[in-house]
């Protein structure tokens, strides 16, 4: 098969050399075709080396140390905060909180609001708004908060083509709404949501807005100021960074006003047995030894992505998504769950293939070296909404190529023949 040329593609030949795992050969001779990037991305050599260098040369606990290693580790850790702040255009580095993953970031906000004083407090008089396309990590924390406070949980439904149905926005977001939490990009359907309309309505009624940018931060320019939200959450492992680290960005006044979540070392100002006072943000929300090496690794990931350029990465993925949608729709019996064009969509594409169960699709693709994810992708309400038990999801990243799209399409043909 010849090399497909699409406008806007990155030099994947060069980029792929940075990712050791992409050389893997599976099942006696099948080259790995890694199309599970929405679950987690692969890591470039630059990130792996930054982790090793940290542990081999600079490892120490951070803050308050007066020895060389402690100062180096602190500078590296806080330097990573600077990098992440710049990456998302945060007005202040102190607005960047390191968590363990996006799930913790989302839970952190839910918990802060549950324990907050007025005007932020979520209680039985108030309402929480999410959407039907959220990842479980942006559903369950709000269900728990709703159960524990008595607040009412509401959500936006979905249109048949995988978009948010905002036709009833005035009924969903009301004067009672305290918080609106939604995903910028759907991890199952790839849908990119209309932030501005939602933020505007939320601001009109004085509700806070939390944006789950887990599937956006890796793939596009993320500018927290342009988004206009109050909080933005994302996760390191999907954006070339290590596992074990997430980010919560929050507006400084809010971080000052809201109560802490986890208590412990690092987050305090002064402790006596009778009472404690808390350090200013971000430390107030970082109890215990932070993910030091992981922050350093995330900093290296941000450097890596920035060196290529988020705009160029977005353009690459857009071109590839456009191609993939087109080619997938050529496969008989294939139904895309979600937008069927590349407009306002990210590079995660879910589909069903006749009545062949996604487990079987995924397994037979795996036998050909093609890694996709099958199941409900932690977004089971979407499957319920479209009346399907599960989907097969192929998702692309900066190192993905048109040839890999072709391999997927060929693989699906093989699946059809196998179970035909």
């Amino acid at each position: 098969m010849g090399v497909t040329q699409l406008p806007g593609l990155l030099d994947t030949e060069a980029i792929r050399k940075d990712f050791p795992v992409l050389d893997r050969v599976l099942h006696d001779g099948k080259k790995l075709v890694y199309l599970d990037n929405a679950a987690t991305s692969q890591k470039p050599r630059q990130v792996i080396d930054a982790l090793s260098a940290y542990y081999e040369r600079h490892n120490s606990n951070v803050h308050r140390g007066v020895h060389v290693l402690a100062e180096e580790a602190t500078a590296l850790y806080e330097g990573a905060r600077d990098k992440v702040a710049a990456f998302v255009n945060a007005p202040s580095r102190d607005e960047v909180i390191f968590t363990k993953n996006a799930s913790e970031s989302l839970n952190l906000v839910a918990n802060m609001l549950g324990w907050a004083d007025e005007p932020y407090r979520v209680d039985r008089e108030t309402e929480i708004v999410i959407t039907e396309m959220e990842h479980h990590s942006n559903i369950v924390p709000w269900q728990l908060l709703s159960q524990r406070t008595g607040a009412k949980l509401k959500w936006f439904g979905l249109t048949d083509d995988g978009r948010l149905d905002l036709s009833d926005i005035e009924q969903v977001i009301t004067e009672k709404t305290k918080i609106v939490s939604f995903t910028l990009v759907s991890n199952i359907m790839g849908t990119v949501n209309p932030v501005e309309a939602i933020v505007r309505r939320a601001q009109d009624v004085g509700a806070l807005v939390l944006i789950d940018a887990s599937q956006a931060a890796p793939h596009m320019v993320l500018d927290v100021q342009a988004l206009g939200a109050d909080f933005v959450a994302f996760t390191g492992h999907k954006m070339c960074g290590p596992t074990g680290i997430g980010v919560l960005w929050g507006r400084q006044e809010l971080l000052e006003d809201l109560p802490p979540f986890l208590g412990g070392g690092e987050m305090i100002e002064t402790v006596s047995m009778h009472s404690s006072t808390y350090a200013p943000a971000p430390h107030k929300f970082e109890a215990g030894t932070p993910p030091i090496a992981q922050a350093v690794g995330l900093g290296a990931a941000v450097d890596y992505l920035t060196s290529i350029g988020m705009e160029r990465i977005a353009r690459h993925e857009h071109a590839l998504t456009e191609y993939a949608v087109k080619r997938l729709l050529e496969v008989p019996d294939l139904r895309i769950i979600g937008p069927t064009t590349a407009e306002d969509r990210g590079a995660a594409i879910s589909f069903t293939l006749g009545d062949i169960h996604p487990h079987d699709v995924g397994q037979v693709l795996d036998e050909q070296g093609i890694a996709v994810r099958v199941g409900h992708h932690c977004a089971r309400p979407v499957c319920l909404r479209y009346g399907i038990p599960a989907t097969t999801r192929a998702s692309f990243y900066l190192y993905s190529t048109p040839a890999e799209v072709d391999a997927l399409v060929d693989g699906l043909e093989h699946v059809r023949n196998f179970f035909g």
């Binding site: 169960h357 487990h359 397994q363 499957c383 038990p389 179970f419």
Partner: protein, 151 residues
Amino acid sequence: MYQDVILDHYKNPHGRGLRDGDAEVHHVNPTCGDEITLRVRYDGSRIADVSYEGQGCSISQASASVLNELLVGKELAEAQRIQGTFLELMQSRGQIEPDDAMEEVLEDAVAFAGVSKYPARVKCALLSWMAWKDATAQALAGGTDAERKTA
């Protein structure tokens, strides 16, 4: 892992469809959405019928078909022995190479040996067997309906 025997059962399932029974259960594998509704009918201690409806992957569907073929007509004690052997094989993480004795007990079901290497799929293969065990317990206890989830 997709032995021809498995594909055959998947494409041409035995005894599929719901018929009269002494007890009915509904099992779901929440991690992948596989579902089965299964009824058993006993004639004394002999299995008169196992009928079922379900949706799911080839492994779970074929496994239900194999179960029907293997167990219908058997005495309960014998069926339990077969179920036990199948469970053992599936939990072996690919470590058991079925011998002749096992093949005699399991017949077509030995084809699932390869599935045991795939932890994510073992539950699929076991879904109908767990449902059968549950339905049998209910039938013997008096046949009340119940809905259960297989974790």
